[in-house]
Every structure is written in C-alpha cells, then in structure tokens.
C-alpha cells in the first residue's frame, strides 16, 4: 500500500463518460477528440478529461489525440443498466485508488469509515488533488457501480454489500 502506487482519477461524473461512449459509438467507434469537442461546443479541456476518464476505465484508447472505442466499452454499451453497473464495479476494483479504499474499508469494523478519515487518506495519497472533489468523484463512480455507499446523516462511507 505504498502511496507512490496510487494513481488519481479524472474528476468527471460517470454519466459524462457513458455519454462519450454513446457519442463515439454513433460515429462508428472512432473520432478525433478535438472534432468531438468542437461539434458539441464542449470545452476542449473538459473533453480531454472525459476522454481520460474513459481511458482509465478501459473503455476507450486515445492514440495521438484520437479516441477509439475498445471492446470493453462496446460491451458496456450493449449491456443493460444493471450489467453496466456490474461491469463498472469489476473495473473499479482494478484501479489502484479504488482497490486501496476497498482494502481500507475491509479492515474496518462494519467496513465503514467517517468521511473526514477518508479525506485525510486521499490527501496523503494524492497531495496534488483536491480531496473533497476527489471524494465526490469516487462516490459518483462508486455508488453507480454499487461498490461504495455514503450515508451523510451517519457520516459513514462504506463498502456496498449489494
């Protein structure tokens, strides 16, 4: 669990990533990233971020500014909503940041932690990221995948037992 091994994730909601996959698919599975941004009137830096998120998840490859739908991305699109969640869950477990959090939570009583504690872990692991917004993104992906849950009233970040 050395900090150097943990990679950050692009701070992008999962709905945008899915939207990108659908857009890409409707254009034959491959497109120039700059052109997508221009056609959608989408800020290029935001588009690059969504592309990076989709790449981190293994749904697309981005050779030299292009963006190419990968078999896993295609499989995701062809799945129904609950299969999509299961597929994303398996992918997230393979990401260093999420697997760190999974192991961290498994080591706790009730497999849960207070938000503040999670934020301090994030701040130590990834000092260049804003821990609060990183936590939001982790929650967005983690909840969608039914991997993590968070109860604000009980201040409890936990492993979703599904």
């Amino acid at each position: 669990m050395r900090a150097a091994e943990i990679h950050p994730i692009p701070q992008v909601g999962i709905s945008r990533v899915i939207g990108l996959l659908e857009l890409l698919d409707s254009r034959g599975g491959s497109e120039d990233g700059y052109r997508l941004a221009r056609d959608l009137n989408y800020p290029l830096s935001d588009m690059l971020n969504v592309m990076k998120a989709a790449e981190v998840l293994g749904f697309v490859a981005t050779p030299s500014g292009d963006i190419v739908l990968q078999p896993l991305g295609k499989q995701f699109l062809e799945s129904d909503i609950n299969q999509r969640k299961a597929l994303l869950r398996e992918r997230l477990k393979e990401l260093s940041l999420f697997s760190y959090l999974v192991r961290l939570l498994r080591g706790q009583e009730n497999c849960s932690l207070e938000r503040e504690v999670v934020l301090s872990h994030l701040a130590m692991l990834l000092p260049n990221e804003d821990p609060e917004s990183l936590f939001s993104t982790i929650l967005d992906w983690g909840r969608f995948a039914e991997l993590f849950g968070f109860n604000k009233d009980e201040d409890r970040f936990y492993l979703d037992q599904q």
Binding site: G13, S15, L20, L139, D140, F144, E146
Partner: protein, 252 residues
C-alpha cells in the same frame, strides 16, 4: 379516440392596459403510444402549454380532452419532469422519489416498493440515501425521472429535461430514456417532450409539433419516419432539422 386532444386552446394574462397573449388557437391530438416533441424558441409558451395539458393551469379558452373527457384540474394520469429537476434538498434520493406517491395518498409499503422499482430502472441503485447536493446533474435528473415514473403515469410530460445538463450527460440520458420507453415493462406509453433543440426533437420523437411565438401557436408539424436508434448528421436527419428550422424562421 386519441389519448389527448387540444381544441383551440388559448391562454392570455390580463395586464393593466392590455392582454398578454401567451398561446393562441392551439389544436392537436396525441395518440396512445406516441412520442411527440414540441419544439419552439424560448418565450413561445411551450412550457405553459405543457402545464395546461397537465391541468396545473387552466386555458383562457378552448378545451383539453383526455380520453375524450375534459381535463378539469390536475390530470392524475400525467407526470411531469422538470428542467430544474425540482428536488427537495433536505430529502434523500429515495424520499424524493416517494414524494409524489405520498402526495397521492399511496400507502408507505407500496411507496417503498414502487420507489425501489423505478430507482432501479433509471440506474440509481446505490444512490438511495444520497442527498441532491451530493449528485451530479445527470444523477439529479435520473431522480426527477424516477419520481415521475413511480407515479406510473399513462402520459409522461417532459419540460426541457436535458437542457440544464452537460452535453455528454444529455446524450447519456436521452439514450436511456429511449431505451426505457421502448422496453415493454415500462408503464409509460406516451411521452410529450418540450424542447428548444431541433436536433433533440428529431432524434427522440415520432412526431414534432413546431411552435412560433408572439403569440405562441403551432406553425407546423412533421412526422419523423426514421428507424431507431437514429444517427445524426445523415442526409435524412439533416433534411428534417432544416425543415423545422425554416418553419420557425418563416412562420415563427
């Protein structure tokens, strides 16, 4: 008999000196199972029209018939999805979805059962105890959609539901809505979608009603005879959007 029929519906508001005509002489029908889009520039009164169909506000003149009977007060066979999501920030996702059911006097056990079904359908499993503030725009609108669907309406009314969303998020939600509408286990058969986006109207609907403004009225109508899923940027698709654009330009 059509599911919905509007006959010469007009709406005006009396100002001190003159009357403000918001809608004038609106007549059309919607058949059961149809997906109809109402497209028009901002200020053409399309949102007002949607609320008149729902029975939230009465027309100044004309008639709204639902299954041949005049709508008088809120039509409980309809549910509305808002552009602004209209979620209560102090309630969880689950409580927000149950809200409409509570208002209709449905028992707690049935409320829970239905909320669970539609939370699952819109992809919100895992978000039940989240508060709106913790959600992205896309997830917020899924809540808005689940809340409307939980009422199991025959007619779903959508007021610019994708306009407040990021473009990529909107692509995602449009696709999911079409998937749900086409699946046989969804109780909603008929949808009226209000939008200012011509592309969105042509992508989604079987039929597009085009509105102009000052006063708001129907200036054209067009059937979209394209197989789904529809590809944008094809010649046929572009021809339809061009046609709508010129209707608004010339008569709007």
């Amino acid at each position: 008999m059509p599911l919905l029929e509007l006959k010469e519906v007009s709406k005006s508001y009396q100002r001190s000196a003159s009357a403000l005509h918001v809608l004038e002489g609106i007549s059309f029908t919607v058949e059961e199972g149809e997906f109809v889009a109402i497209v028009g520039p901002s200020g053409c009164g399309k949102s007002t029209l949607l609320r008149i169909i729902h029975g939230l506000i009465p027309p100044s003149s004309g008639q709204v018939l639902y299954k041949g009977r005049q709508v008088d007060g809120i039509n409980l066979e309809c549910a509305l999805v808002f552009q602004s999501f209209a979620l209560l920030p102090w309630l969880t996702v689950k409580a927000n979805v149950e809200l409409g059911l509570e208002a209709r006097g449905i028992e707690p056990a049935e409320r829970e059962r239905r909320a669970a079904i539609y939370i699952d359908k819109v992809g919100l499993d895992g978000f039940e105890e989240a508060y709106p503030r913790e959600l992205s725009g896309g997830m917020k609108q899924r809540v808005g959609l689940a809340r409307a669907l939980a009422l199991e309406p025959e007619l779903l009314l959508m007021d610019e539901p994708f306009s407040a969303l990021d473009q990529l998020t909107a692509i995602n939600l449009r696709e999911e809505l079409l998937d749900m509408w086409q699946s046989p286990d969804l109780p909603v058969g008929t949808i009226i979608l209000v939008t200012h986006s011509i592309e969105e109207a042509v992508e989604m609907a079987d039929r597009v009603l085009v509105m102009g403004r000052n006063p708001g009225r129907i200036v054209g109508e067009l059937t979209v005879d394209l197989a789904r899923p529809r590809r944008k940027r094809t010649d046929l698709f572009n021809a339809l959007t061009d046609q709508i654009f010129s209707m608004i330009e010339e008569r709007g």
